[in-house]
């Protein structure tokens, strides 16, 4: 039990995927201008991340390792993720059109979201069991969504701020991320 708790705390707070591991920076900077879109992006990434985490773990354990072709990990994983994203997109379109409308435009962006591939690789690197891998994927996606939502709250408030012209847009978002990251340093040592 303790170890699962540690995985969650580690992934959400201490080693936050965005603020300390630098994965998924592009959507973090790009889709965090509005709270609604950051929630959508967070939801879409979480969904794909957990699903791909499961499939890549199974693939690694039951196919790549037995066949002794671990070095094909990168190709195999990216194939899984790319197909998965497309599959999810098609399925959502058919099964849940409202959800598709909400998340649809974010899905294509996820293929090249390094958070998804990154977490899949971390799951393998850390020799997690399946349950641990799932916990890890879920916690990372929670951490991602949390960072995104917090960021968008701040950026909505920055809309009315008198930010110097050359700092507007991405630079100030990076500074906000830096200061958030300083605040998150407070969690270091929790595990």
């Amino acid at each position: 039990m303790q170890s699962y708790f540690m995985i969650i705390i580690s992934a959400v707070l201490v080693n936050n995927i965005v603020l300390s591991q630098f994965l998924g920076i592009c959507p973090f900077l790009g889709v965090s201008k509005k709270l609604s879109s950051s929630l959508g992006m967070g939801g879409a990434v979480s969904f794909v991340l957990v699903l791909s985490g499961a499939i890549t773990w199974l693939l690694q354990t039951y196919l790549l390792l037995p066949l002794n072709i671990g070095y094909l990990q990168t190709i195999a994983f990216i194939l899984v993720i790319a197909s998965l994203v497309q599959l999810v997109e098609m399925a959502l379109k058919k099964i849940a059109p409202p959800l598709y409308k909400a998340l649809g435009i974010y899905l294509p962006l996820i293929t090249t979201n390094c958070a998804v591939l990154g977490v899949a690789i971390i799951n393998i690197k850390k020799d997690f069991s399946f349950a641990e891998a799932m916990t890890n994927s879920l916690s990372h996606s929670i951490g991602f969504t949390m960072a995104l939502v917090l960021m968008s709250g701040i950026r909505e408030r920055l809309e009315e701020a008198d930010v110097p012209k050359s700092m507007q847009g991405t630079p100030i978002a990076l500074v906000v991320a830096a200061l958030m990251s300083i605040a998150f340093l407070g969690f270091s040592g929790l595990i």
Partner: protein, 319 residues
């Protein structure tokens, strides 16, 4: 009768205004910090004075240069940078090299305040950003504590707790007076309380934040002490040791970076309190006040958004 010479002014009401202004409020904050400053000067002597001067002057110069660079009016009467510098100095160890204090002060003012547009627009408390920047950058210098008056190296009370040196813990009375090692302005809970209550009396701070902040820390540490079979001294120790009072009365109540709604302020305090206990008890640092307030600064926009008061007369039951 004096005739009307010029055109009359036509404006929108109200036509009278309270005498309060930003500068008068900042003056009150500075005044409220005086007791703690005097105590720290008594205990930590010349090094403390020099560090305070270095932080304050660096903050003021940084503020001046930033305003100049951005083509804004220079702050003739504005003491907000001085307050930032002073608050930062209060949460630094008295032995810190002066240049480090000045660097942290400038970092806080430039990065956390002026890049966001200056007064009123910052998301994070500049003084705390300065402190955490220094702590992360110079961990050795930032954790070197000395005892009051004689200035011998010694661990801070919370550090002793962390390292399980419970035998050598100072008494609660010592903590109240401030006769312990620690950051230069944080040690005396009583002096800070006096300043905080003055601010409250002047109407500048809302007691909701300090009360819920300190209350949460007390309740949580009390529960932990009960579970672990320790006495009442443990929660009291947590209240008066470290920067809890300074943080709760002067930093968690910072206007700019905390929620404007009443419910938001209570949640802010509870959040800060919980995070402090989490970091102190489970985390890697002995002290977590600065981080907890910064973390809640991050959440402030969302708190404001989701805790809006119900407008008078909207869906309220009459009774």
């Amino acid at each position: 009768m004096t005739p009307i010479k010029k055109l009359l002014q036509v404006t929108s009401s109200p036509h009278i205004h309270s005498t309060e202004s930003i500068s008068s409020a900042m003056r009150d904050v500075l005044l409220a910090l005086v007791p703690a400053l005097l105590v720290s000067l008594y205990f930590f002597r010349v090094p403390a004075l020099l560090l305070v001067l270095s932080c304050v002057s660096s903050a003021y110069i940084a503020e001046y240069l930033c305003l100049k660079a951005m083509g804004k009016q220079t702050p003739v009467k504005e003491q907000s940078a001085v307050v930032t510098g002073l608050l930062l100095a209060f949460c630094l160890p008295p032995t810190l090299p002066l240049w480090m204090g000045a660097l942290g002060s400038a970092f806080g003012i430039v990065i956390a305040k002026h890049l966001f547009g200056g007064l009123g627009y910052n998301i994070f408390n500049p003084a705390l950003i300065g402190r955490c920047f220094l702590l992360a950058s110079f961990p050795v210098a930032m954790t070197h504590w000395i005892t009051p008056i004689d200035g011998v190296s010694s661990a801070s009370p919370l550090g002793m707790l962390k390292e399980s040196m419970e035998g050598s813990l100072p008494s609660v009375t010592q903590l109240l007076v401030g006769n312990v090692s620690g950051s230069l302005g944080e040690t005396s809970a009583v002096a800070i309380l006096i300043g905080g209550l003055y601010l409250w009396y002047r109407g500048h701070i809302d007691l909701r934040i300090p009360a819920s902040f300190i209350g949460t820390v007390f309740v949580l540490t009390f529960i932990i002490a009960m579970v672990n079979g320790k006495g009442i001294s443990c929660p009291l120790f947590h209240l008066f040791a470290g920067g809890l009072f300074l943080g709760a009365f002067f930093m968690a109540t910072d206007w700019v970076t905390t929620p404007v709604t009443k419910l938001g302020r209570i949640l802010f305090g509870i959040g800060c309190g919980s995070l402090v206990v989490l970091i102190r008890v489970k985390g890697g640092y002995p002290e977590g006040v600065a981080y907890s307030i910064l973390l809640m600064n991050v959440v402030t926009p969302l708190l404001d958004r989701y805790t809006k008061a119900r407008v008078f007369g909207r869906e309220q039951r009459n009774g």
